[in-house]
Assembly symmetry: C2
Homo-oligomer: 435 residues x 2
């Protein structure tokens, strides 16, 4: 296989002709596929349809302690739901507050509260001249949207297969008191599917923040979202809460999680786990903000999943649906792009995404070309703060929603666009060099 | 019936002895009753238990337009839920955003958003020296808790049976640019059960605010919460949205509502209704804050209640349970306190509360005495900003939770405490006068 960069102008021109013709053919197929968001497929949603029967006309609607979930009361979650969510992410129930239908609003509220009221008594961030967040990137666009919305300066931190580049993280956190937080998706990261190594977790726990109100925003969104049942193909993540406690920084982290991609997207339950001191601070504002979250839905989830084992069994069924889609994408990528030197991609053990890196300066054009032919990808740049990918190379692929066949079709088009755009770039570069 | 104020010292002393003995007897009964919050009773919650069957394993989970409610998408509510909530409060569906499980968080978020981001492009309130809210009082303690939490100065406005004293409202709103909002429970107000008259609503709509970012926070919590089926005993409220539009101030009001006391408390659905411009501004932050609210619960409510007529029929069943409790309280109050000149109370056509005004300076002691004998009332003062009732006279009675029999028992104790505390005050006053 000849790498594109070794090709002559004539070879590239011939290739461009072939690829252009193939692309025009593909456009004629009238594809209409969406790989833009990590949406569960209809088949995955069907897996949880029995959740609708977990409570019915005859159900006892009380918790074990006798609290009627249909009435007001209990602002921080029913005990059974705390136990369920704690089991899912491997923390103690007393470190958990169960909230509403998704974790994003908990993260938003946590930042918003820090802006207006500070953190455990610190100066409200809106009263400070400058507030900064570290943003490992490529990362989750909705994290960056929150910090951008609140006018927080975002500093890009490189990602590695072991998690965020901790040399960079330590440099900023330990020296700059304006750095108040860092976004982390520690397991099966969005979009690469990387998981923080034990060393990375321990280096997080050992941070010596210049700001007392610095917090790690540990978005454990994919805690149980393995693609394989074989433990050898499942990533393991150390519990950051106990590591922070051991390191003498019990208050340094908020961990977020939800059942959005376990039960139903947007109709699940979500939680925040943290130290007693942080949770007390959160409860103080929660009692003003809400009369309590939806306890009936908490009870519904508890009755349906029962415990962590119930969730794990359920996730195995999700994996059976997701795995062929990831593998379909990976096969096409390997078959069509392997050895060409025009792109690299991750092969995760879990999560919802594959991260693709095209040649520098090609991502936006590839995404545009795909769209023109009916395949919608996440906007290029979306995985970076301010939607600015400095290399214009990262593309997030979300294989969950289309069927495996559609996924293969969409990936065929994708690799075609990667090739075509790269050839055009190479030809342009050569023309500039000879000019 | 002799008024207490006409009694001699000797008569009062004799009375005090009798009342003290009766109070000690009552303490011996070991009552344990809670009249502190507007909680639905278990029987009321049972009315909605079939809601748990509205969706089941076989249900079509799609909206009429084909959107799967189990997946991500639609940030501002499914169309059917917009129609349901619009019908409940008598506005147009296009003026409605349906949110999560209760209206309090929508109000909190609305204030919070105004603090950090302003209102439709105005200066964020946290950047202003001073922000003030008008607080008609007695009013809803949780409203005042929100404004206090955000450091907003609260100005008490007197309440009348026709709603807030509009002379005072106009004076502040039309002249002081620091006045950014007013809390109003326009129908069956908490705690009096008053409803804004047509004239009051029209005067609200005709306000000429000194601040362009002034908004009316119209908490229509009891829109359909009549105690009587007879229309002659049902209060009517003009639609503030269309009145504001007619008056040329379409953006001046946010209306809030929920099914918390229609279906299940804390597991209902809630909405905000406002102008297109305000809703666009809200959506801008909502798309950052959330991936969408619980659409499955929205669908569940739509399938169960169908429309405004379905809600009205359901509310009639609530009324049948609530009415005897309100009447039990009112009968005891009238029988025991009528003509004594030591207290006055409201007799509402709907809502969740009766407002009682004791003689000046007696409320705290009455509440404390009730508590000592096993009957918990809302804390005296709670119905005023900063929990400070300048006359120490207002007490909120919440008859919904206990049974009618318990309600009568609790009210017997209450009137006993009213009498005892008042007699003691009168004796003290007389002693001071003769000293």
């Amino acid at each position: 296989m000849k790498q594109y960069s070794d090709m002559s102008v004539e070879e590239l021109q011939t290739l461009r002709e072939e690829l252009t013709k193939a692309y025009e053919d593909a456009k004629g197929k009238g594809l209409k596929l969406d790989m833009s968001r990590g949406k569960p497929s209809p088949a995955q949603l069907e897996l949880s349809q029995d959740l609708m029967n977990a409570l019915n006309t005859d159900s006892d609607m009380k918790t074990a302690a006798g609290v009627d979930t249909r009435n007001y009361g209990i602002v921080d979650g029913i005990p059974e739901a705390k136990a369920l969510m704690a089991g899912m992410i491997g923390v103690k129930p007393e470190n958990v507050i169960v909230c509403g239908n998704a974790s994003l609003p908990i993260m938003f509220d946590t930042v918003s509260r820090s802006m207006t009221h500070g953190v455990c008594g610190s100066t409200p961030w809106c009263k400070l001249g400058k507030v900064k967040f570290l943003c490992p990137a490529p990362g989750y666009d909705r994290h960056f949207a929150i910090t951008e919305y609140f006018g927080i300066e975002m500093i890009t931190v490189p990602m590695t297969p072991q998690g965020p580049d901790m040399d960079v993280v330590e440099k900023y956190v330990n020296t700059d008191p304006a750095v108040k937080g860092i976004w982390v998706v520690p397991k099966y990261s969005n979009p690469q599917g990387y998981t923080c190594s034990d060393e990375t977790v321990r280096r997080f726990a050992a941070l010596q923040p210049a700001a007392e109100d610095f917090r790690i925003f540990w978005d454990n969104a994919y805690a149980v979202h393995h693609l394989y049942d074989d433990p050898a193909h499942q990533d393991q993540l150390l519990d950051i809460l106990s590591e922070c406690e051991k390191a003498g920084h019990p208050d340094m982290v908020y961990e977020f999680c939800s059942t959005s991609k376990v039960s139903m997207a947007g109709s699940g339950i979500a939680a925040v786990a943290s130290s007693a001191r942080n949770l007390d601070w959160i409860r103080k504002s929660m009692t003003i903000q809400t009369i309590g979250y939806d306890k009936v839905n908490q009870l519904r989830h508890v009755r349906y999943f029962r415990d962590a084992a119930g969730i794990a069994a359920h996730m195995s069924r999700h994996a059976a649906l997701l795995r062929p889609k990831f593998e379909a994408v990976e096969q096409v990528l390997e078959r069509e792009l392997g050895g060409l030197g025009i792109g690299s991609w991750t092969v995760p053990n879990g999560g919802y995404f594959i991260s693709f890196d095209a040649c520098k300066g090609c991502a936006k054009e590839i995404v545009a070309k795909c769209k023109e032919a009916g395949v919608t990808l996440t906007g290029a740049g979306a995985t970076f703060p301010y939607k600015q990918d400095p290399s214009d190379s990262n593309i997030r692929i979300a294989p969950s929603f289309p069927s495996p066949e559609e996924m293969a079709q969409a990936t065929d088009l994708f690799v075609l666009c990667v090739k075509l755009v790269t050839v055009e770039h190479l030809l342009e570069n050569k023309a500039q060099l000879s000019a």
